[in-house]
Protein backbone atom coordinates (compact mmCIF):
# COMPACT_ATOMS: atom_id res chain seq x y z
CA UNK A 1 0.00 0.00 0.00
CA UNK A 2 1.19 3.50 -0.79
CA UNK A 3 2.15 5.76 2.04
CA UNK A 4 -0.16 8.72 2.35
CA UNK A 5 1.95 11.76 1.44
CA UNK A 6 0.41 14.64 3.34
CA UNK A 7 2.60 17.28 1.67
CA UNK A 8 1.63 16.35 -1.88
CA UNK A 9 -1.70 18.18 -2.06
CA UNK A 10 -0.35 21.52 -0.70
CA UNK A 11 2.59 21.23 -3.08
CA UNK A 12 0.21 20.78 -5.98
CA UNK A 13 -1.83 23.75 -4.78
CA UNK A 14 1.26 25.94 -4.85
CA UNK A 15 2.09 24.61 -8.32
CA UNK A 16 -1.40 25.37 -9.65
CA UNK A 17 -1.23 28.83 -8.13
CA UNK A 18 2.11 29.43 -9.85
CA UNK A 19 0.73 28.26 -13.20
CA UNK A 20 -2.33 30.47 -12.82
CA UNK A 21 -0.27 33.57 -11.95
CA UNK A 22 2.11 32.82 -14.82
CA UNK A 23 -0.73 32.52 -17.34
CA UNK A 24 -2.27 35.70 -15.98
CA UNK A 25 1.03 37.56 -16.32
CA UNK A 26 1.43 36.33 -19.87
CA UNK A 27 -2.10 37.25 -20.89
CA UNK A 28 -1.95 40.78 -19.48
CA UNK A 29 1.57 41.70 -20.65
CA UNK A 30 0.92 40.70 -24.29
CA UNK A 31 -2.00 43.11 -24.64
CA UNK A 32 -0.06 46.14 -23.37
CA UNK A 33 1.94 46.77 -26.56
CA UNK A 34 -0.08 49.79 -27.68
CA UNK A 35 -2.16 47.92 -30.27
CA UNK A 36 -5.89 47.65 -30.04
CA UNK A 37 -7.06 44.34 -28.65
CA UNK A 38 -8.03 42.15 -31.60
CA UNK A 39 -11.63 42.54 -32.71
CA UNK A 40 -12.13 45.90 -31.05
CA UNK A 41 -13.79 48.55 -33.18
CA UNK A 42 -11.56 51.69 -33.21
CA UNK A 43 -14.61 53.94 -32.80
CA UNK A 44 -15.77 52.01 -29.77
CA UNK A 45 -12.28 52.21 -28.41
CA UNK A 46 -12.30 55.95 -28.84
CA UNK A 47 -15.60 56.14 -27.00
CA UNK A 48 -14.20 54.20 -24.10
CA UNK A 49 -11.40 56.67 -23.71
CA UNK A 50 -7.75 56.81 -24.47
CA UNK A 51 -6.61 54.70 -21.59
CA UNK A 52 -8.74 51.69 -22.41
CA UNK A 53 -8.21 52.09 -26.12
CA UNK A 54 -4.47 52.29 -26.16
CA UNK A 55 -3.98 50.20 -23.11
CA UNK A 56 -1.23 52.66 -22.24
CA UNK A 57 -1.78 50.98 -18.99
CA UNK A 58 -3.58 47.72 -19.60
CA UNK A 59 -7.21 47.77 -18.46
CA UNK A 60 -6.65 44.31 -17.10
CA UNK A 61 -3.88 44.56 -14.51
CA UNK A 62 -1.24 41.93 -14.13
CA UNK A 63 -0.60 39.94 -10.96
CA UNK A 64 2.18 42.34 -9.94
CA UNK A 65 -0.20 45.32 -9.96
CA UNK A 66 -2.77 43.45 -7.90
CA UNK A 67 -0.15 42.24 -5.43
CA UNK A 68 1.11 45.80 -4.99
CA UNK A 69 -2.45 47.07 -4.45
CA UNK A 70 -3.17 44.32 -1.94
CA UNK A 71 -0.05 45.29 -0.06
CA UNK A 72 -1.22 48.93 0.05
CA UNK A 73 -4.56 47.84 1.50
CA UNK A 74 -2.92 45.54 4.02
CA UNK A 75 -0.64 48.37 5.21
CA UNK A 76 -3.52 50.78 5.70
CA UNK A 77 -6.87 49.01 5.86
CA UNK A 78 -8.77 51.55 7.93
CA UNK A 79 -8.16 54.95 6.30
CA UNK A 80 -11.17 57.18 5.78
CA UNK A 81 -11.01 59.97 3.22
CA UNK A 82 -14.67 60.77 2.73
CA UNK A 83 -17.71 58.84 1.48
CA UNK A 84 -16.21 57.31 -1.62
CA UNK A 85 -12.74 56.62 -0.34
CA UNK A 86 -12.60 54.38 2.69
CA UNK A 87 -10.14 51.60 3.47
CA UNK A 88 -11.08 48.00 2.59
CA UNK A 89 -10.97 47.12 6.28
CA UNK A 90 -13.69 49.64 7.03
CA UNK A 91 -15.83 48.52 4.12
CA UNK A 92 -15.61 44.82 4.95
CA UNK A 93 -16.36 45.60 8.60
CA UNK A 94 -19.62 47.25 7.54
CA UNK A 95 -20.52 44.17 5.52
CA UNK A 96 -19.63 41.76 8.31
CA UNK A 97 -21.61 43.82 10.82
CA UNK A 98 -24.70 43.77 8.56
CA UNK A 99 -24.41 40.06 7.91
CA UNK A 100 -23.95 39.21 11.56
CA UNK A 101 -26.80 41.54 12.57
CA UNK A 102 -29.29 40.03 10.14
CA UNK A 103 -28.01 36.52 10.77
CA UNK A 104 -28.22 36.67 14.55
CA UNK A 105 -31.72 38.16 14.36
CA UNK A 106 -32.74 35.39 11.97
CA UNK A 107 -31.31 32.73 14.30
CA UNK A 108 -33.16 34.23 17.25
CA UNK A 109 -36.42 33.94 15.31
CA UNK A 110 -35.82 30.77 13.28
CA UNK A 111 -34.54 28.44 15.98
CA UNK A 112 -37.32 28.93 18.57
CA UNK A 113 -39.96 29.07 15.84
CA UNK A 114 -38.52 26.01 14.13
CA UNK A 115 -38.63 24.27 17.51
CA UNK A 116 -42.34 24.96 17.89
CA UNK A 117 -43.07 23.92 14.30
CA UNK A 118 -41.07 20.73 14.70
CA UNK A 119 -42.75 19.80 17.98
CA UNK A 120 -46.26 20.06 16.59
CA UNK A 121 -47.21 18.17 13.42
CA UNK A 122 -50.32 20.37 13.24
CA UNK A 123 -48.37 23.65 13.21
CA UNK A 124 -45.93 22.04 10.77
CA UNK A 125 -48.73 21.29 8.31
CA UNK A 126 -50.41 24.67 8.81
CA UNK A 127 -47.28 26.74 8.20
CA UNK A 128 -45.82 24.57 5.47
CA UNK A 129 -47.54 26.32 2.49
CA UNK A 130 -46.27 29.72 3.64
CA UNK A 131 -42.73 28.46 4.05
CA UNK A 132 -42.90 26.73 0.67
CA UNK A 133 -43.87 29.98 -1.07
CA UNK A 134 -41.64 32.36 0.87
CA UNK A 135 -38.51 30.22 0.80
CA UNK A 136 -37.71 30.35 -2.95
CA UNK A 137 -38.10 34.14 -3.21
CA UNK A 138 -34.81 35.82 -4.00
CA UNK A 139 -33.97 37.89 -0.95
CA UNK A 140 -33.18 40.87 -3.20
CA UNK A 141 -36.80 40.91 -4.34
CA UNK A 142 -37.66 42.06 -0.83
CA UNK A 143 -35.37 45.08 -1.16
CA UNK A 144 -37.83 47.59 -2.67
CA UNK A 145 -40.48 46.59 -0.16
CA UNK A 146 -37.94 46.94 2.64
CA UNK A 147 -36.76 50.33 1.43
CA UNK A 148 -40.36 51.50 1.11
CA UNK A 149 -41.48 50.39 4.56
CA UNK A 150 -38.27 50.81 6.56
CA UNK A 151 -36.99 53.86 4.64
CA UNK A 152 -33.46 53.37 5.95
CA UNK A 153 -31.03 51.77 3.51
CA UNK A 154 -28.78 50.26 6.16
CA UNK A 155 -31.66 48.64 8.02
CA UNK A 156 -33.06 47.42 4.72
CA UNK A 157 -29.80 45.61 3.94
CA UNK A 158 -29.88 43.99 7.39
CA UNK A 159 -33.50 43.01 6.76
CA UNK A 160 -32.59 41.35 3.47
CA UNK A 161 -29.88 39.35 5.24
CA UNK A 162 -32.40 38.47 7.93
CA UNK A 163 -34.88 37.17 5.35
CA UNK A 164 -32.37 35.10 3.42
CA UNK A 165 -30.84 33.56 6.55
CA UNK A 166 -34.21 32.73 8.01
CA UNK A 167 -35.42 29.88 5.82
CA UNK A 168 -32.56 27.38 5.93
CA UNK A 169 -32.37 27.69 9.72
CA UNK A 170 -36.14 27.49 10.13
CA UNK A 171 -36.61 24.50 7.87
CA UNK A 172 -33.64 22.61 9.29
CA UNK A 173 -34.58 23.26 12.89
CA UNK A 174 -38.16 22.13 12.29
CA UNK A 175 -36.94 19.02 10.48
CA UNK A 176 -34.32 18.21 13.10
CA UNK A 177 -36.80 18.59 15.94
CA UNK A 178 -39.53 16.63 14.18
CA UNK A 179 -37.23 13.70 13.50
CA UNK A 180 -35.70 13.26 16.96
CA UNK A 181 -35.57 9.52 17.64
CA UNK A 182 -38.67 8.21 19.28
CA UNK A 183 -36.62 6.06 21.66
CA UNK A 184 -34.92 9.09 23.23
CA UNK A 185 -38.28 10.77 23.70
CA UNK A 186 -39.56 7.56 25.27
CA UNK A 187 -36.61 7.51 27.66
CA UNK A 188 -37.51 11.07 28.65
CA UNK A 189 -41.15 10.09 29.11
CA UNK A 190 -40.40 7.12 31.33
CA UNK A 191 -38.18 9.39 33.44
CA UNK A 192 -41.01 11.95 33.69
CA UNK A 193 -38.77 14.69 32.35
CA UNK A 194 -40.44 18.13 32.39
CA UNK A 195 -41.09 19.76 28.97
CA UNK A 196 -38.48 22.52 29.29
CA UNK A 197 -35.79 20.12 30.47
CA UNK A 198 -36.71 17.75 27.66
CA UNK A 199 -36.48 20.55 25.10
CA UNK A 200 -33.01 21.65 26.21
CA UNK A 201 -31.42 18.37 27.27
CA UNK A 202 -32.90 15.89 24.80
CA UNK A 203 -34.41 17.54 21.73
CA UNK A 204 -31.90 20.36 21.32
CA UNK A 205 -28.74 18.20 21.42
CA UNK A 206 -30.42 15.55 19.26
CA UNK A 207 -31.39 18.12 16.62
CA UNK A 208 -28.26 20.27 16.96
CA UNK A 209 -26.31 18.76 14.04
CA UNK A 210 -29.28 19.30 11.70
CA UNK A 211 -29.76 22.84 13.00
CA UNK A 212 -26.09 23.58 12.42
CA UNK A 213 -26.36 22.41 8.81
CA UNK A 214 -29.08 25.04 8.35
CA UNK A 215 -26.97 27.69 10.08
CA UNK A 216 -24.06 26.93 7.82
CA UNK A 217 -26.18 27.17 4.66
CA UNK A 218 -27.60 30.44 5.97
CA UNK A 219 -24.27 32.14 6.59
CA UNK A 220 -23.16 31.12 3.09
CA UNK A 221 -26.25 32.60 1.47
CA UNK A 222 -26.08 35.72 3.64
CA UNK A 223 -22.51 36.37 2.55
CA UNK A 224 -23.48 35.90 -1.11
CA UNK A 225 -26.43 38.26 -0.76
CA UNK A 226 -24.72 41.07 1.15
CA UNK A 227 -22.51 42.00 -1.83
CA UNK A 228 -25.50 42.36 -4.14
CA UNK A 229 -27.56 44.13 -1.48
CA UNK A 230 -24.82 46.69 -0.85
CA UNK A 231 -24.46 47.32 -4.57
CA UNK A 232 -28.16 48.22 -4.51
CA UNK A 233 -28.34 50.36 -1.38
CA UNK A 234 -24.92 51.97 -1.70
CA UNK A 235 -23.10 54.04 0.90
CA UNK A 236 -20.81 51.59 2.65
CA UNK A 237 -19.79 47.96 2.59
CA UNK A 238 -17.69 45.73 0.39
CA UNK A 239 -20.45 45.40 -2.22
CA UNK A 240 -20.66 49.15 -2.57
CA UNK A 241 -16.86 49.30 -2.76
CA UNK A 242 -16.84 46.90 -5.71
CA UNK A 243 -19.53 48.90 -7.48
CA UNK A 244 -17.76 52.17 -6.80
CA UNK A 245 -14.43 50.84 -8.08
CA UNK A 246 -16.19 49.62 -11.20
CA UNK A 247 -17.30 53.20 -11.77
CA UNK A 248 -13.71 54.29 -11.19
CA UNK A 249 -12.60 51.54 -13.57
CA UNK A 250 -10.09 50.36 -10.99
CA UNK A 251 -9.82 46.68 -11.82
CA UNK A 252 -7.01 46.15 -9.31
CA UNK A 253 -9.24 47.30 -6.48
CA UNK A 254 -12.07 45.11 -7.73
CA UNK A 255 -9.85 42.03 -7.85
CA UNK A 256 -8.51 42.80 -4.39
CA UNK A 257 -12.06 43.12 -3.06
CA UNK A 258 -13.12 39.88 -4.75
CA UNK A 259 -10.26 38.02 -3.06
CA UNK A 260 -11.19 39.54 0.27
CA UNK A 261 -14.85 38.54 -0.16
CA UNK A 262 -13.78 34.98 -0.81
CA UNK A 263 -11.46 34.97 2.17
CA UNK A 264 -14.05 36.27 4.63
CA UNK A 265 -16.68 33.89 3.26
CA UNK A 266 -14.32 31.00 3.82
CA UNK A 267 -13.57 32.12 7.38
CA UNK A 268 -17.27 32.39 8.22
CA UNK A 269 -17.90 28.92 6.83
CA UNK A 270 -14.96 27.44 8.73
CA UNK A 271 -16.16 29.03 11.94
CA UNK A 272 -19.53 27.29 11.63
CA UNK A 273 -17.93 24.04 10.53
CA UNK A 274 -15.89 24.15 13.70
CA UNK A 275 -18.99 24.71 15.84
CA UNK A 276 -20.74 21.88 13.98
CA UNK A 277 -17.89 19.52 14.79
CA UNK A 278 -17.98 20.53 18.44
CA UNK A 279 -21.68 19.68 18.86
CA UNK A 280 -21.90 16.68 16.56
CA UNK A 281 -22.27 13.20 17.99
CA UNK A 282 -21.57 9.75 16.67
CA UNK A 283 -23.62 6.64 17.33
Amino acid sequence: MKRNKAWLAPLLSVLFFGLFVGAWQLATSSSSDGELPPGMDPEYAALLGAQAATGGQSAMPGPGDVAARIWEHVKDPFYDRGTNDKGLGIQISYSIARVLGGYVLAALVAIPLGFLIGMSPLVYKALDPFIQILKPISPLAWMPLALYTIKDSNTSAVFVIFICSLWPMLVNTAFGVATVRREWLNVARTLEVKPLRRAFLVILPAAAPTILVGMRISIGIAWLVIVAAEMLVGGTGIGYFVWNEWNNLSITNIITAILLIGLVGMLLDHLLAWVARAISWRE
Partner: protein, 287 residues
Protein backbone atom coordinates in the same frame (compact mmCIF):
# COMPACT_ATOMS: atom_id res chain seq x y z
CA UNK B 1 -56.40 -14.32 48.07
CA UNK B 2 -54.33 -11.13 48.15
CA UNK B 3 -53.95 -8.99 45.04
CA UNK B 4 -50.71 -9.37 43.09
CA UNK B 5 -48.37 -6.37 42.90
CA UNK B 6 -49.01 -5.94 39.18
CA UNK B 7 -52.26 -7.05 37.62
CA UNK B 8 -53.16 -7.18 33.95
CA UNK B 9 -56.84 -7.58 33.15
CA UNK B 10 -58.50 -8.22 29.79
CA UNK B 11 -55.68 -6.50 27.92
CA UNK B 12 -56.18 -6.04 24.17
CA UNK B 13 -54.40 -3.97 21.56
CA UNK B 14 -55.30 -3.39 17.94
CA UNK B 15 -53.73 -1.01 15.47
CA UNK B 16 -55.73 0.90 12.86
CA UNK B 17 -55.32 -0.76 9.48
CA UNK B 18 -54.62 1.05 6.23
CA UNK B 19 -57.89 1.67 4.37
CA UNK B 20 -61.07 0.62 6.08
CA UNK B 21 -60.07 -2.93 6.87
CA UNK B 22 -61.31 -4.04 10.25
CA UNK B 23 -58.37 -4.15 12.66
CA UNK B 24 -57.35 -7.55 13.98
CA UNK B 25 -56.13 -7.36 17.55
CA UNK B 26 -52.45 -8.19 18.03
CA UNK B 27 -53.52 -9.83 21.28
CA UNK B 28 -56.71 -9.91 23.30
CA UNK B 29 -57.99 -10.83 26.74
CA UNK B 30 -54.61 -11.18 28.42
CA UNK B 31 -54.77 -11.75 32.16
CA UNK B 32 -51.94 -12.35 34.57
CA UNK B 33 -50.34 -11.06 37.71
CA UNK B 34 -46.84 -10.51 39.06
CA UNK B 35 -46.05 -10.67 42.77
CA UNK B 36 -43.67 -8.31 44.48
CA UNK B 37 -40.09 -9.48 44.04
CA UNK B 38 -41.01 -11.93 41.32
CA UNK B 39 -39.07 -12.28 38.07
CA UNK B 40 -41.39 -12.96 35.16
CA UNK B 41 -40.35 -13.67 31.58
CA UNK B 42 -42.59 -13.57 28.54
CA UNK B 43 -41.67 -16.08 25.88
CA UNK B 44 -43.12 -15.97 22.38
CA UNK B 45 -42.31 -15.75 18.72
CA UNK B 46 -41.42 -12.53 16.98
CA UNK B 47 -44.45 -10.37 16.26
CA UNK B 48 -46.77 -11.82 18.89
CA UNK B 49 -46.94 -8.46 20.66
CA UNK B 50 -44.38 -8.71 23.45
CA UNK B 51 -42.97 -5.22 22.96
CA UNK B 52 -46.50 -3.87 22.68
CA UNK B 53 -47.38 -5.37 26.09
CA UNK B 54 -44.24 -3.92 27.62
CA UNK B 55 -44.98 -0.48 26.19
CA UNK B 56 -48.45 -0.60 27.71
CA UNK B 57 -47.00 -1.65 31.08
CA UNK B 58 -44.50 1.22 30.78
CA UNK B 59 -47.33 3.65 30.00
CA UNK B 60 -45.84 4.53 26.62
CA UNK B 61 -48.74 2.96 24.72
CA UNK B 62 -52.43 2.61 25.50
CA UNK B 63 -54.43 -0.59 25.49
CA UNK B 64 -57.50 -0.83 23.25
CA UNK B 65 -59.29 -2.61 26.08
CA UNK B 66 -58.50 -3.80 29.57
CA UNK B 67 -56.15 -2.24 32.08
CA UNK B 68 -53.01 -2.57 34.11
CA UNK B 69 -52.99 -2.05 37.86
CA UNK B 70 -49.74 -1.62 39.73
CA UNK B 71 -49.60 -1.42 43.51
CA UNK B 72 -53.33 -0.71 43.64
CA UNK B 73 -53.30 2.07 41.04
CA UNK B 74 -54.15 2.01 37.38
CA UNK B 75 -51.25 2.67 34.99
CA UNK B 76 -52.18 5.73 32.91
CA UNK B 77 -48.85 6.97 31.60
CA UNK B 78 -45.10 6.64 32.01
CA UNK B 79 -43.78 6.90 35.54
CA UNK B 80 -40.53 6.81 37.45
CA UNK B 81 -42.04 3.85 39.31
CA UNK B 82 -41.26 1.69 36.28
CA UNK B 83 -37.74 1.59 34.92
CA UNK B 84 -37.43 0.49 31.30
CA UNK B 85 -34.52 -1.12 29.50
CA UNK B 86 -35.29 -0.75 25.81
CA UNK B 87 -34.87 -3.29 23.03
CA UNK B 88 -32.23 -1.02 21.44
CA UNK B 89 -30.16 0.45 24.25
CA UNK B 90 -31.63 3.98 23.66
CA UNK B 91 -28.65 5.77 25.18
CA UNK B 92 -28.19 9.39 24.22
CA UNK B 93 -25.08 9.43 22.03
CA UNK B 94 -24.06 12.97 22.93
CA UNK B 95 -23.72 12.07 26.63
CA UNK B 96 -21.03 9.95 28.27
CA UNK B 97 -22.02 6.77 30.08
CA UNK B 98 -21.93 8.63 33.38
CA UNK B 99 -23.98 11.56 32.06
CA UNK B 100 -26.59 9.18 30.65
CA UNK B 101 -27.10 7.66 34.08
CA UNK B 102 -26.89 11.06 35.79
CA UNK B 103 -29.67 12.29 33.54
CA UNK B 104 -31.94 9.59 34.95
CA UNK B 105 -30.82 10.15 38.56
CA UNK B 106 -31.39 13.89 38.23
CA UNK B 107 -34.89 13.20 36.89
CA UNK B 108 -35.76 11.24 40.01
CA UNK B 109 -33.97 13.47 42.53
CA UNK B 110 -34.32 17.05 41.34
CA UNK B 111 -33.27 18.33 44.78
CA UNK B 112 -29.97 16.47 45.01
CA UNK B 113 -26.62 18.21 44.80
CA UNK B 114 -24.32 17.61 41.84
CA UNK B 115 -22.12 15.53 44.11
CA UNK B 116 -24.96 13.28 45.26
CA UNK B 117 -26.20 12.70 41.72
CA UNK B 118 -22.73 11.79 40.54
CA UNK B 119 -22.00 9.41 43.39
CA UNK B 120 -25.31 7.65 42.94
CA UNK B 121 -24.76 7.25 39.18
CA UNK B 122 -21.21 5.98 39.70
CA UNK B 123 -22.46 3.44 42.22
CA UNK B 124 -24.83 1.89 39.69
CA UNK B 125 -22.29 1.94 36.87
CA UNK B 126 -19.84 0.14 39.16
CA UNK B 127 -22.55 -2.39 39.89
CA UNK B 128 -22.48 -3.37 36.21
CA UNK B 129 -18.64 -3.20 36.22
CA UNK B 130 -18.36 -0.03 34.16
CA UNK B 131 -16.44 1.99 36.74
CA UNK B 132 -13.59 2.30 34.24
CA UNK B 133 -15.73 3.58 31.34
CA UNK B 134 -17.56 6.47 33.00
CA UNK B 135 -16.47 9.14 30.56
CA UNK B 136 -16.79 7.15 27.36
CA UNK B 137 -19.46 8.10 24.85
CA UNK B 138 -21.82 5.30 23.72
CA UNK B 139 -20.05 5.23 20.33
CA UNK B 140 -16.86 4.21 22.16
CA UNK B 141 -18.55 1.34 24.04
CA UNK B 142 -19.15 -2.21 22.87
CA UNK B 143 -22.71 -3.50 22.42
CA UNK B 144 -22.60 -5.29 25.76
CA UNK B 145 -21.27 -2.24 27.58
CA UNK B 146 -24.00 -0.05 26.09
CA UNK B 147 -26.64 -2.48 27.25
CA UNK B 148 -25.09 -2.44 30.74
CA UNK B 149 -25.27 1.36 30.82
CA UNK B 150 -28.96 1.01 29.91
CA UNK B 151 -29.42 -1.41 32.80
CA UNK B 152 -27.55 0.86 35.21
CA UNK B 153 -29.73 3.75 34.08
CA UNK B 154 -32.94 1.81 34.73
CA UNK B 155 -31.78 0.56 38.14
CA UNK B 156 -30.42 3.93 39.24
CA UNK B 157 -33.88 5.44 39.59
CA UNK B 158 -34.71 2.59 42.00
CA UNK B 159 -38.11 1.93 40.46
CA UNK B 160 -40.78 -0.25 42.02
CA UNK B 161 -40.60 -2.44 38.99
CA UNK B 162 -38.27 -3.08 36.08
CA UNK B 163 -39.32 -3.70 32.48
CA UNK B 164 -36.75 -5.25 30.17
CA UNK B 165 -37.31 -5.70 26.44
CA UNK B 166 -34.92 -8.37 25.12
CA UNK B 167 -32.03 -6.59 26.79
CA UNK B 168 -29.49 -9.14 25.58
CA UNK B 169 -30.93 -9.84 22.14
CA UNK B 170 -28.08 -8.31 20.17
CA UNK B 171 -25.21 -9.79 22.19
CA UNK B 172 -22.97 -12.77 21.62
CA UNK B 173 -23.40 -15.78 23.90
CA UNK B 174 -20.37 -15.05 26.09
CA UNK B 175 -21.20 -11.42 26.80
CA UNK B 176 -24.83 -12.36 27.24
CA UNK B 177 -23.90 -14.86 29.94
CA UNK B 178 -21.80 -12.46 31.95
CA UNK B 179 -24.41 -9.69 31.84
CA UNK B 180 -27.12 -12.16 32.83
CA UNK B 181 -25.02 -13.01 35.88
CA UNK B 182 -24.70 -9.33 36.70
CA UNK B 183 -28.43 -8.90 36.36
CA UNK B 184 -29.05 -11.84 38.70
CA UNK B 185 -26.64 -10.23 41.16
CA UNK B 186 -28.41 -6.89 41.34
CA UNK B 187 -31.89 -8.37 41.27
CA UNK B 188 -30.97 -10.60 44.24
CA UNK B 189 -29.47 -7.64 46.08
CA UNK B 190 -32.40 -5.29 45.47
CA UNK B 191 -35.28 -7.83 45.45
CA UNK B 192 -36.49 -6.04 42.33
CA UNK B 193 -39.75 -7.03 40.65
CA UNK B 194 -38.93 -7.69 37.00
CA UNK B 195 -40.92 -8.18 33.81
CA UNK B 196 -38.68 -9.28 30.98
CA UNK B 197 -39.19 -10.21 27.35
CA UNK B 198 -37.06 -12.82 25.68
CA UNK B 199 -37.19 -15.48 23.05
CA UNK B 200 -34.29 -17.40 24.46
CA UNK B 201 -35.44 -20.47 26.39
CA UNK B 202 -32.27 -20.88 28.46
CA UNK B 203 -32.33 -17.24 29.46
CA UNK B 204 -35.90 -17.63 30.68
CA UNK B 205 -35.03 -20.72 32.71
CA UNK B 206 -32.03 -19.06 34.32
CA UNK B 207 -33.72 -15.79 35.21
CA UNK B 208 -37.46 -16.31 35.58
CA UNK B 209 -39.56 -17.55 38.45
CA UNK B 210 -42.52 -17.67 36.10
CA UNK B 211 -42.58 -17.90 32.33
CA UNK B 212 -45.60 -16.58 30.44
CA UNK B 213 -46.05 -18.46 27.17
CA UNK B 214 -47.68 -16.54 24.35
CA UNK B 215 -49.19 -18.05 21.22
CA UNK B 216 -48.37 -16.59 17.83
CA UNK B 217 -50.18 -13.48 16.68
CA UNK B 218 -52.42 -12.07 15.51
CA UNK B 219 -54.95 -12.56 18.30
CA UNK B 220 -52.16 -13.86 20.50
CA UNK B 221 -53.17 -15.35 23.84
CA UNK B 222 -51.48 -16.51 27.00
CA UNK B 223 -51.49 -20.28 26.61
CA UNK B 224 -50.16 -21.00 30.08
CA UNK B 225 -47.88 -19.77 32.78
CA UNK B 226 -44.98 -22.08 33.57
CA UNK B 227 -43.66 -22.11 37.12
CA UNK B 228 -39.91 -22.59 37.34
CA UNK B 229 -39.44 -25.49 39.79
CA UNK B 230 -35.84 -24.56 40.50
CA UNK B 231 -35.45 -22.24 43.44
CA UNK B 232 -33.40 -19.06 43.49
CA UNK B 233 -30.58 -18.33 43.35
CA UNK B 234 -30.08 -20.21 40.11
CA UNK B 235 -26.49 -20.66 39.01
CA UNK B 236 -25.69 -21.06 35.33
CA UNK B 237 -22.92 -23.62 35.82
CA UNK B 238 -24.96 -26.12 37.84
CA UNK B 239 -28.45 -25.41 36.56
CA UNK B 240 -28.51 -28.11 33.91
CA UNK B 241 -27.55 -30.76 36.44
CA UNK B 242 -30.75 -30.32 38.39
CA UNK B 243 -33.35 -32.97 37.64
CA UNK B 244 -36.04 -30.41 36.85
CA UNK B 245 -33.96 -28.70 34.17
CA UNK B 246 -34.58 -30.88 31.12
CA UNK B 247 -38.29 -31.51 31.64
CA UNK B 248 -38.73 -27.73 31.93
CA UNK B 249 -36.57 -26.98 28.93
CA UNK B 250 -38.25 -29.63 26.79
CA UNK B 251 -41.64 -28.28 27.73
CA UNK B 252 -40.70 -24.73 26.69
CA UNK B 253 -39.02 -25.77 23.44
CA UNK B 254 -41.94 -28.01 22.61
CA UNK B 255 -44.29 -25.08 23.10
CA UNK B 256 -42.27 -22.73 20.90
CA UNK B 257 -41.78 -25.28 18.13
CA UNK B 258 -45.23 -26.87 18.01
CA UNK B 259 -47.95 -25.62 20.29
CA UNK B 260 -47.46 -21.86 19.90
CA UNK B 261 -48.50 -22.07 16.26
CA UNK B 262 -51.53 -24.28 16.52
CA UNK B 263 -52.73 -23.65 20.03
CA UNK B 264 -56.01 -25.44 20.68
CA UNK B 265 -57.36 -24.57 24.08
CA UNK B 266 -58.77 -27.45 26.12
CA UNK B 267 -62.32 -27.38 27.44
CA UNK B 268 -61.24 -26.01 30.81
CA UNK B 269 -58.86 -23.35 29.39
CA UNK B 270 -59.96 -19.95 30.63
CA UNK B 271 -58.26 -16.78 29.36
CA UNK B 272 -59.22 -15.00 32.59
CA UNK B 273 -57.20 -17.52 34.51
CA UNK B 274 -54.46 -19.12 32.38
CA UNK B 275 -53.32 -22.47 33.81
CA UNK B 276 -50.19 -22.68 35.94
CA UNK B 277 -47.97 -25.50 34.71
CA UNK B 278 -45.24 -27.30 36.69
CA UNK B 279 -43.13 -29.27 34.18
CA UNK B 280 -41.13 -32.03 35.78
CA UNK B 281 -43.36 -31.99 38.84
CA UNK B 282 -46.84 -33.00 37.65
CA UNK B 283 -47.96 -33.75 41.22
CA UNK B 284 -47.74 -30.01 42.07
CA UNK B 285 -50.17 -29.03 39.34
CA UNK B 286 -52.96 -30.79 41.17
CA UNK B 287 -52.13 -29.10 44.46
Amino acid sequence: MSQPFLKIEGLKRQFPQPGDAAPTPVFEDLNFGIDRGQFVCVLGHSGCGKTTILNILAGLDEASAGHVIMDGREVRGPSLDRGVVFQGHALMPWLSALKNVEFAVRSRHADWSREQVRNHAVKYLELVHLGEALDKKPAELSGGMKQRVGIARAFSIEPKMLLLDEPFGALDALTRGSIQDELIGIVEATRQTVFMITHDVDEAILLADRIVLMTNGPRAKIAEIVVNPMARPRVRETLHQQPEFYPLRNHLVDFLVKRSRAFTPGADWDPKNPPLVYPGAPDRAAA
